[in-house]
Amino acid sequence: MNAFIAIVHRDLLLVMRRKSEVLTALFFFVIVTSLFPLGIGADAALLRKIAPGVIWVAALLSTLLGLQRMFAADYADGTLEQLVLSPNAFTALVFGKIVAHWLVCGLPLVLLAPVIGIQFDLDAQSLKVLMAALLLGTPVLSLLGSVGAALTLGVRGGSVLMSLLILPLYIPVLIFGAGAVYASSVGLDITGHFSLLGALLILALAFVPWVSASAVKIAIE
């Protein structure tokens, strides 16, 4: 447990020392979502309709930007090897890195989403649903992404390859996350979407840290 907290703390500290990388991913999120009205036109009804999809797709892509950093630097300087050798359960350490990634790349998206939503003329109810859906969905993105980051460690063209591997796996989160916002905007029941998002999160929490840890070990050995 201590090791887990130490890893989260260390990764957050590293990010604070080099803020530009994280801010780049966040600005990417803001810029991409702002480009859509410019490309499509400022018709409020149309914007309301595409908002959930646009915001979710932008969230998916900006999560990808931060993923490369999850293991790459530690892999390059040998820290990762030491972590594997340490007496602490390596799965817990990997989980710590995933949590740190979510705190840096996922949580800010949840907080930024209402601002973007207002740009797209979403009402207050939809904004709440959007935030709640992102709160449940972005951890799944970080978790699944960690598998891709671990598999492509030190591989030629790793970041492009990682998007190819991970984006298909993100589809269920995208569907239920955007679907929840869409359903609430047309007055449908949204509990189903949230149950499924929650189920995806529980499933990912149960299995992914373990899978990522074995993937990292494969990359190192």
């Binding site: 598998v147 591989v155 390859l161 298909p168 796996l169 269920p172 569907i175 899978v211 990359a219």
Partner: protein, 256 residues
């Protein structure tokens, strides 16, 4: 007692002998002509049934006959992914080289089947629905399956260390096989949520018995084809990876 032990262990080694590339290579070479023969027999029978025996569809006319290719390749594309994941998993658990080679050999075949399924589906869809592509749940998940195949192939191709490529690919295949049903159902529910039932594939009309036979024969033909091509590919992979060994250098086909 020791005799019994020897006997049973002898039998076990007999079977597991073929998990070594040097023993499997000649065995695969012997099996390939048989599977090609079966491919041709089933293919000829299947095509004959589907073109000359199966009746003309009441609604779709002659155009429906692409079903005899389309449905079997779709089955194969899904089935091969599962088989590939099983081989990959076996390779990961037992650390056998041949299993990983089988997974690597199957991936392009499966990707090809998925591609053919989409392609023939588009040719069928255009005259029947008036569109090359609709965002139907089955079409969408088939497309995603193709992406998963391409991801597997790309990952294996971009890692230079063969053992690492095998293991990383195995993890990806296993993650993929767990995700395939999740993706399928999420796309299905998305589909019912977002669009009305403009096209319904699920309400298939009762099929004539001969149509079913045509489809089954074609499916068997593609099974045999996939096995034959899979064995040929695995032989090539064995030669490539074992090029440094003596037994490969002694092979007639390598010496020439």
């Amino acid at each position: 007692m020791s005799n019994v032990n020897n006997l049973s262990s002898g039998q076990v080694t007999n079977w597991f002998k073929f998990s070594s590339p040097s023993a499997f290579y000649p065995l695969a070479g012997k099996m390939i002509p048989w599977f090609w023969t079966l491919t041709i027999i089933f293919g000829a029978a299947g095509l004959w049934v589907s073109f000359f025996v199966a009746p003309v569809d009441a609604v779709q006319g002659q155009g429906y006959r692409i079903i005899f290719v389309h449905v079997p390749v779709s089955w194969m594309s899904m089935f091969i992914y599962v088989v590939m994941a099983i081989w990959a998993g076996l390779g990961l658990i037992f650390n056998t080289r041949l299993s990983a080679m089988m997974a690597q050999a199957l991936a392009p075949i499966g990707a090809w089947m998925a591609f053919l399924s989409l392609w023939t589906g588009a040719f069928w869809g255009k005259p029947m629905w008036g569109a090359w592509w609709v965002w139907d749940a089955r079409l969408t998940s088939e497309l995603i399956l193709l992406f998963l195949y391409l991801g597997f192939i790309a990952l294996q191709a971009s890692i230079d260390n063969v053992r690492r490529a095998d293991k990383a690919g195995a993890i990806l295949a296993l993650v993929g096989v767990v995700n395939v049903p999740i993706i399928y159902f999420s796309v299905k529910w998305w589909n019912t949520l977002h669009q009305g039932a403009s096209v319904s594939l699920t309400k298939a009309p009762a099929m004539a018995q001969t149509m079913l036979w045509g489809m089954l024969l074609m499916a068997l033909c593609l099974w045999m084809y996939s096995i034959a091509v899979g064995l040929m590919r695995v032989r090539a992979i064995i030669l490539e990876r074992e090029a440094h060994t003596d037994w490969v250098r002694q092979l007639n086909e390598v010496k020439q």
